[in-house]
Subunit: 354 residues, 5 copies
């Protein structure tokens, strides 16, 4: 996860509305899969040519064209011209550093979302941009690379589970967005487990490595927050849109979605606050431990330095030192040493340093 | 209290609107208790079969069906179909990780709340989700497990205390929600006592264990806040709803409820701020104590290290050291030692380290 | 000042609208004082029985009944039934842990405020709840205990100072609320003096006791803020109410009051921020002092430990140590010691530690 | 600059609407200066008696009466009664602890502002309250003491520079308010230079004195912010007022003024944030330096304490210590010492402590 | 980048609406470049006299006059009078310390923006103010000095790339503003690389120099934020303006611009938060390292100080010390030393200090 997308330098030099893919090229070739269905029939195909997707355009079936890989400008331009997409929408589609947004262009709705996955080994969050072009009975989805969270929806379509095959195209779009947001829960759960592991370590054994882990998680939360907050607005706009593409029957489902996005953003905020709390806890723990170290040092120094001084006195070579001759001096001295040492220990015990 | 609910992984794979219980299974079997009353009569029963709850549907009495335990899908589906509940409402009912919310579905209002209890021994907060389906003269409440804060309301119904038996079904719902929110005060009072105990310890004896206690309490406040804030909106929506289910006479009571939720959220915010303040106080106290420790070390070192050096000088074995021969050297040296030691003590006293 | 009121546990078990006094019992017995006046006449009495207050109800004079002490349920119920007060209002009156609020119940306005006083010796803030029931020409005020800030208003009534005797009942209410809020200035001034004293001590001599004082003051500010903020809304509601009880002529005065509440809340916020700044300053000062201590220790150790080592060398008893025999060894050694010591001092001077 | 105005204790005991001057008495006697002008004529006088200001009241010239010093109640009452000012306005005029505010009283607008000046020597900010009473062609300004920022406006009036003499009375008020706000820039520039000086010192040489300076500046910013923020609202109200006193032609100028107030408040916020950043930087720098000190101590102690121990071994007086007899012991020991010392130095170099 | 513009002291003394250039004089002489085009023709000239720009005024071509350098009042006044610009707009044009703003003056729109560039060597951000006066088919842009980010737009005009030559004058203004904002991305990318470099250093090797770098970057972010935030409002006002100058067809492009400004401000906020996090990380790292240093010191001191004391005991010169005579004393002592040293090491290992 980068602090700032790296490909915008390209952007600063390009013309608004021009088709340029901004982002890493993830896939070998653009893959087009096409599904059309109504409550009775269901067909799923991999398209060889983009033109195959237009043939069914006249029918009353619901059509879903899924595009994996955004770098093939030839295919992109074909879709653009066929479906009469506004140049700026196309540009946004191709720039994978968009904020999530929803735009109503009368003939269709344009929705941009972020799909995320958490890599438990590297503790990194991976992003993928998913765009939706939703018209009356046609849905086009664009993804950066193959492999997605939509498989469960396809499965429901195939097996006609739930009410999905009976409902309109906007319900399909809802189901897919729901799949994207449900996936956030999976990521948040992984992160919450990570945070709890870190918390336990901070309490038990605050190493300096854990400090960097807290910092990394905090950074993730910051970037995640930036990416997820606009989602609320996107879904809220879907609820309040007056576009006839969104049916009245679908609204309660989208409202439910809105509750989910709130839960997601609330959790991210809580996680961030939690990590700030852990940073404070870490710092306090380190101070505590330093206190501990200092006490050990001080106790040793305060006991033995005076004793060593006393020993030093009687190591002097003056010709005239009366104590040196006295037979019991040495034994008396041991007594004095024990008195001093015991006194110091008692003093530190009283101070609760021991 | 978990940072993030653990059962959402199930969720990511299920179909919206499908009936699945998400949450721990707390009860052995689902328990249905049924109360119907008007100002003259009152009847309270444990139902063996869910169908018994429908018989009184036609009457003008107020009916209250309480369901303890959400895992029995057979019973749930029966209620669902009988009362014609929207699939998404049913889904929300069964997922115990909902945010508090209130939805107006014309035929009925759907309300989700959180019941909390504070375990004084483990310092943990326990959650339970309570849902209300409130129609004209029928109220259904769903709880995760038996044992609730509704007993006081039942008692009032039984003994016809207050005005409760004379008023409509929404007043009953109000009374139950009031019982839930009143219970928050009990929890907050326990927590405030805990915080004051922690505060006293931080001032008197800041151990490292108290640090973790502050952290735990802060974490509780964070999660509590996340759960309680939506309550304000829920109650506010109840006030402003135009649904005929909420009678005009009940509004002042719900307004009173709103004041209570504000007091609860205000207190949680104050507690959180208080705990942050305690963390700072702790850190400052630790720094103070380290200062103390360092002063002891420095005083001992600064006094005895020079003295030891002087003793070391006259412990040298040079053949030619004039002082060694002089008769009064040893006694003069004692004088010098006292001068050095006294001077250092005076210096530290002037610096206010002693 | 408590973090959380202690008597709410009672509350959780009582019926909404039932008359229970929640709070400490401050007064021996409830004391009723009654004033009625118009521009010509003025009468002030202590009532023996609550019924005496109703006699003047028909007259066109302005009537002010002041109740000190809330625990006598008999008196309370008499007033309740006579003036036809809504049960929830009565309940709020008796629960002294209300947030300040203003409610318009058509026949009368119900206002709850907090009176505060600062105890300069214990540094504690004392609270008292004052409630107003204001109808067309009747004002009832409820206080927890005798002794109030209303004396100056009574004095003006008695001496007919200002315009007070000529104006309506809402102006009397305004004058009393103004007296309550003006009293906040007195408290804030005491606190500001306290903060400035603390500030001077933090700069001059940051003892660990001052740390707790900052913490206490911060806690006070937190609780004060929670209690005073709702005041703004209360006064704002008074300005915007459409109730005929508030005369148009009184509005400019209430607007003035609103400015005062803003000044009070602004000052509380500034004080809080100031105290947070003082906490930071304290911590930085402590770090500075620790630095000072460490420098003293390091200078002593870095100078004398090497010298002691050198002395230790020539205290060894080897049979063959050429320097021991040499006549000038001892004096050369003194030179070396001065060189080392002077070099160290120069080094520390260059480092600006001295 | 005081944390809280000191004269409010007086206030708590006085009657709303009564004329009392609250604030320090700055001037010996109240000074009245009077200017009347139209595009052709211009006259400037010092008035001996307040009545002289009324004579021109009928004319179509623009009249500006400036009052320096607020303590002479006789003059104040004369003006009050002549211009028919609302008692509360008069009261606000005399209390110099007002928040900036703008009130529309139909016949005139009442505006309160704060004039500030920064004392570069004492680093203190001085306040003065300026009030405006603006009617159709009469402007009265009230200041606490002689000497103001209005001189530049008077100069323009005298020399008829710019469009000022041709425009209406509200433009004159605008020009004066503009002069007040422009003066804020001068103060902010002084403060910004102060902050940059402090910043350089924190980076180069973080003394404990600089800490108090940061604290003082932060305190100033806090109080300044409290005083300046309401200005935005004041100017915004001037833009949106529907009073005919503010001409349509003057609105663009007031909008410009609004931009300036935003720049002022933005700068104050930036300065505050900057100072908080400097406090953090200071603390980090102190920690860095302590680290430095500790390293010096540790290096000296870790090298010489073991060496001293070795020397101590051979200073023992046991009868049987074989090494003492061996001829080369002493020289071998020097080798060991160099090995230990060099090893320690290498170790610390590897740790990057040197 | 200065904390506060330095030339406002001039401002405090000048008359509103008077033409004075406030800011540094960057260019030798004011340079006027003029472009006029329609879909067929395109002409680009450097003007010698300002009058040449008016000749084409009547034509239907789109005219773009670009002014580099603002200090030549003669030229400025000519443009002012010719295009009938409001004096306040002219004043704002010449004062380069404006906040970004957009004003609708019916005949034209006035837009002020900031152009920024990041100097990678000095880590400093440079500012330049760009103003736009946009009327129906005439655009005037004002810059402080030659050299701009508009070259790419000119290139597109010359080569007729994209749709720019076919569209109206407001599209040209959009394209230029887009160029300015796209340039922000370049700056933000440089800064994000800087932050990541700093982050790596904080983790690996927290030197005191890196601390100042964090502080400088934070300061930049603070000032950048202050300058960029108003941009959102500017672009939002362009979207919502009802001026006929902005064509309906251009709105989607401006909406796209709005998304970009949000991304820019979001990134600045994230960067600021990130830098605060790095400051905390730095402080924690320093504490960690101090802990490390203290442990080394304590281990050395705790092991060798007691050993030295023991050696000191047998260096005493008492006549009667039985151990001195015993043959194996010395060897036994070595055993004791190893026991003490080993015991201490074991103790520290158990404490996980080693």
């Amino acid at each position: 996860m980068k602090l700032f997308p790296k490909h915008n330098k390209q952007k600063a030099n390009h013309i608004p509305g021009e088709l340029v893919h901004i982002g890493k090229r993830h896939a070998e070739e653009t893959r087009l899969s096409f599904i059309d269905y109504d409550s009775e029939t269901y067909q799923e195909r991999i398209l060889q040519k983009v033109d195959e997707a237009y043939q069914t355009k006249g029918s009353k079936k619901i059509n879903w064209l899924n595009v994996d890989g955004l770098h093939d400008m030839l295919i992109m331009e074909k879709i653009l011209s066929h479906f009469d997409i506004h140049p700026l929408v196309m540009e946004d589609l191709l720039n994978v550093h968009q904020r999530p947004k929803m735009e109503d262009l009368d003939a269709y709705l344009f929705i941009v979302l972020k799909m995320i996955s958490f890599d438990n080994v590297t503790n990194d969050i991976h992003w993928e941009q998913v765009s939706f072009i939703l018209s009356k009975n046609y849905l086009i989805t664009f993804q950066e690379k193959p492999g997605d969270v939509f498989e469960s929806v396809r499965e429901r379509l195939r097996k006609s589970k739930g009410r999905i095959r009976k409902l309109s195209c906007d319900y399909l779009a809802y189901a897919l967005i729901d799949a994207v947001i449900d996936n956030y829960y999976v990521v948040l759960e992984s992160i919450s487990e990570k945070i709890e592991a870190v918390e336990n370590e901070v309490v038990a054994n605050p190493s300096s490595q854990i400090l960097n882990e807290i910092h990394q998680l905090k950074k993730h939360m910051m970037l995640l927050r930036k990416a997820v907050w606009p989602l609320r607005e996107v879904v809220n706009n879907l609820i309040r849109t007056e576009s006839p593409i969104i049916k009245k029957e679908t609204i309660p489902f989208i409202k439910d979605l809105y509750d989910h996005t709130i839960q997601v953003t609330d959790s991210i905020d809580t996680f961030k606050e939690m990590l700030t709390g852990l940073m404070d806890l870490y710092l306090s723990n380190i101070s505590n431990r330093m206190n501990e170290v200092m006490k050990v040092l001080t106790i040793f120094a305060a006991i033995f330095i005076p004793l060593t001084f006393v020993a030093g006195i009687y190591g002097m070579n003056f010709d005239f030192m009366p104590e040196l001759k006295w037979k019991y001096s040495y034994f008396v001295l041991w007594g004095i040493w024990f008195l001093i040492g015991g006194g110091m220990l008692g003093y530190f015990k009283k101070k609760k340093w021991l």
